[in-house]
Symmetry: D2
Subunit: 300 residues, 4 copies
């Protein structure tokens, strides 16, 4: 119903960025992960999210990631590429490049070193929206890892820009999502992050989730989404509780480490997070293995 | 179902603490508020929660508050009195006094000036539990206003003390509640705070909510609880969205100010928060009025 | 020079609060500590500072502490009693009581549960100043442990109240002290805390220090003050470096624990911090012992 | 004395990064600023510090900045180039490039998106040190703007790597510098940041300061350094107080904005901070102007 007004919805995994020992993006592995997820029924793909280690990749590496995902997807599901920068100049160049490659939209993140007044934060997101229009923009905010948070009044102002259409709020504050929905309904669709209980976000009117865990439990995530869309909330919640162990592992481990560990257990050689991030330990591998087995995403 | 294992459940408002110009607790007004809430169908009452300004009251004032509430309630609903202190000695004396007055349980808060190692936090809550046993204890944690947070591993350990039976987690992190439920199911029942979407907390298995807003929207809160208990989630959510404006007002204004403003608009002369807390302004009064009218808790 | 305009100056230790097993203030021990410090040459005494566990004492215990210190001091040095509360009512009652007991001034702390707008913070300190006028008030701010910080513009406004004469800023930010001096020179005298390098604070124009460590290194502190007053900065710094180990111990241990451990090593039976604060461990005792021996405040 | 063991010392300004409308580094203006500072007597130059907007520049822009500064300096004073990255790979490539250009040392900053365990922070700085050995490395830490802080135990471990020789600690905590000196004396030399009172840091044994304000008050900074080296502390402090207004302006404005405003007032067309950082306003320009006039760095 609400989702009908919005192009993007459902389970949209944050893809990992596999990098070879020589520093190149491992395109065959990344393409295989994309095909695997599409086969599992996901509704879109997001390269260069936080789990995708965008903050650890060079411009060239980022370009190779998006290129690979667009090619592997071949239009079967929308690709929403992450754009992140400290300057408007860099952000709009990234956005234009991904637009020209054929993405369906971009997810925009503002990085910052010095604090910024709100109207300059607004200028940053407006410039990205203008660059990719009419393609839609997903606002991304994560107060845990980013230096600039987007307050509700600013989100409300940005929601009046026609192609700023979505927000992924990676705070843990589900009430804030309801406030955003109450103020921006119809203009801004809300996606959950892995720190939210996705069933709860669907119940309040969310469109789906954009998050790392769906990479390693894609079929279960699609099942959960289908139960939510059918408004079978109690069944959804029962499945959600089984899946929550995966989210808990993501909260305890490095996000990129958790997704890379899970995919390696499932046969995709995506390697480790980029140093100095810690390599996945045997203990971490075991923790991910147990969580996957417990929800049927890996044979015990 | 889950609630059957637990004595406390439902809508348990945080009561205000009306204080006269001379510094005495205004017992008639407080008793009238209690009777009004019981008539509206609430399932319990909590004197000396955060909204009840426990942090601003002397020992004598606190005693008068609990005494008044126990008398006014006359056993019709359980009274769960707030206990808060920096020392074990003060906390256990408060707890013993309220136990002797006939409360049904206590809600325990740890205040602190210096940081505390986890095992000393554990000692504090254990001592309160021992003092009131077999009466049940509700753990209270609010990382926004308190200097000591209760981590999940500590909550899990405390859940093994037989009469530590409930937690009210006033963080905004609903996912944390699910983690607590997953780890302590059957031993710890979970109550939502005003920063949570109560319907979402009920969906994941919560028992109800202990919070300030229910003081000024008691009938609507009971209706919402009934819909949740009947697992009519979509109807519950529709009501929740109308009520959310009240929670938003509580987040913007001083909590004690918001509840006192609402009750004054509803005819209870509970006065202002204790100075130096700001008195309720006309603008604040209007904001509360609009929120109450919008959800049918006040005539427009 | 600058100090001449101000009544208080020099080394003003924060006193511990010894409490017996029955919960009474141990007056003989506290009086003995006072006399010991006065013999060592300190320039004033502060009961009910943070190190004095004001946040852990009842009203009656606080009263007994101040009474004991005023009597033991018998006018030989100024007594500056700590006043701390969440309400104006409690703060002004404390302040009036201590004034009537004969203190030379009060040190005012604002505790808070909910955030406060700046003008209400101002109201709190103004009310205390009015209560004790013409006795001087020392503003106390400690952003690490308190919920309300005093910003420089507010300090500047408060400095225009005639008997608000001093500030003890327990932030670690020495540059902030210089900013306060630049803006409020002649109206507000600045005292260092144990987190500051006192020699540096004296160099920029400070009056002395109000802090816990001076309780256990009083003679060395007085020597350091004398070197600073004589503007023999290099000699002062050489002594400061030897003393810094004591400050480091205070930063690592619980403040109240460190001062109580040191005094016990020096023969004063002041006991442990109030539970649930941890008792001083053998390891903590050793750490304090080594720091005291290293600067000549204890025989090895 | 202490400084004799160390190659770097004195006033080492953080250079701005002037960027043309087309996004190129304005090499002639940057070279002119370098020559102006060398003429004023500064003891070194730091391109790509925080004030130099390293976080807002592309790899190519960073390379152009260091190249320009090395050429303009022509060996007359040491050039210490900022290296900052989220990955070891990017950091060591930057470091190798600047080493090959002929810098005298590097100042190493760790940026991060996800939290890092301490041993991985250690790996990052060790890798940079190994890359540039035997050139010296300055550790840089700024808890206000960076996601990873360097704790004292880690600094102590890193100080045992032979060419990790200096630290610039941009916390405001001067006592922490004394702790570092006490633990790492002779191995790690300490530089002050603009948030410290430099005279105080010199008094405790610091080597000088690496900071933005010296760019716009270079002669006064050199005078202050000379007074400190001559141990004429009271005269130094008198000059310091006149200069402190400049530091206060840096704390109130965007750092890059303050240094760019000051240089423009002094005739260097360095432009504005990179968008979305705010352009310098007329009010900000006036504030910088007043601060410069007050300390004799600009004609009124």
């Amino acid at each position: 119903m609400m989702a009908d007004a919005f192009e993007f919805h459902g389970v949209i995994p944050y893809l990992p960025s596999p990098v070879t020992a020589k520093g190149a993006i491992d395109r065959p592995v990344l393409a295989a992960v994309c095909r695997h997820l599409i086969d599992a029924g996901v509704h879109g793909l997001t390269p260069l999210g936080s789990t995708g280690e965008f903050a650890y990749l060079s411009e060239d590496q980022r370009t190779a990631v998006v290129e690979t995902v667009v090619e592997a997807t071949a239009g079967s599901v929308p690709v929403i590429a992450g754009v992140a920068a400290t300057t408007i100049d860099s952000a709009t160049r990234q956005a234009a490049r991904y637009r020209d490659m054929g993405v369906a939209g971009v997810m925009a993140t503002l990085d910052a070193y010095f604090p910024l007044p709100e109207e300059r934060v607004e200028a940053y997101f407006s410039a990205i929206a203008e660059t990719v229009a009419p393609l839609p923009v997903v606002l991304y905010t994560n107060p845990s890892f980013q230096r600039v948070d987007l307050g509700v009044p600013l989100i409300e102002r940005l929601s009046n820009i026609p192609n700023i259409r979505y927000i992924k709020d990676a705070s843990t504050n589900t009430g804030r999502l309801l406030t955003i929905l109450n103020r921006c309904e119809g203009r801004i669709g809300v996606f959950a992050a892995s720190s939210h209980i996705t069933t709860a976000v669907m119940l309040i009117g969310g469109l789906g989730w954009m998050a790392g865990p769906s990479c390693i439990v894609p079929r279960q995530s699609v099942d959960l989404y289908d139960l939510c869309r059918a408004r079978r909330w109690d069944e959804a919640m029962a499945l959600q509780r089984r899946l929550w162990g995966v989210n808990e592992v993501f909260q305890r481990l490095n996000l990129a480490g958790a997704v890379k560990a899970g995919l390696r257990l499932q046969g995709f050689e995506v390697g480790d997070p980029l140093p100095p991030q810690p390599a996945v330990t045997e203990a971490g591998m075991d923790e991910v293995r147990r969580a996957l087995v417990a929800c049927g995403a890996l044979h015990g």
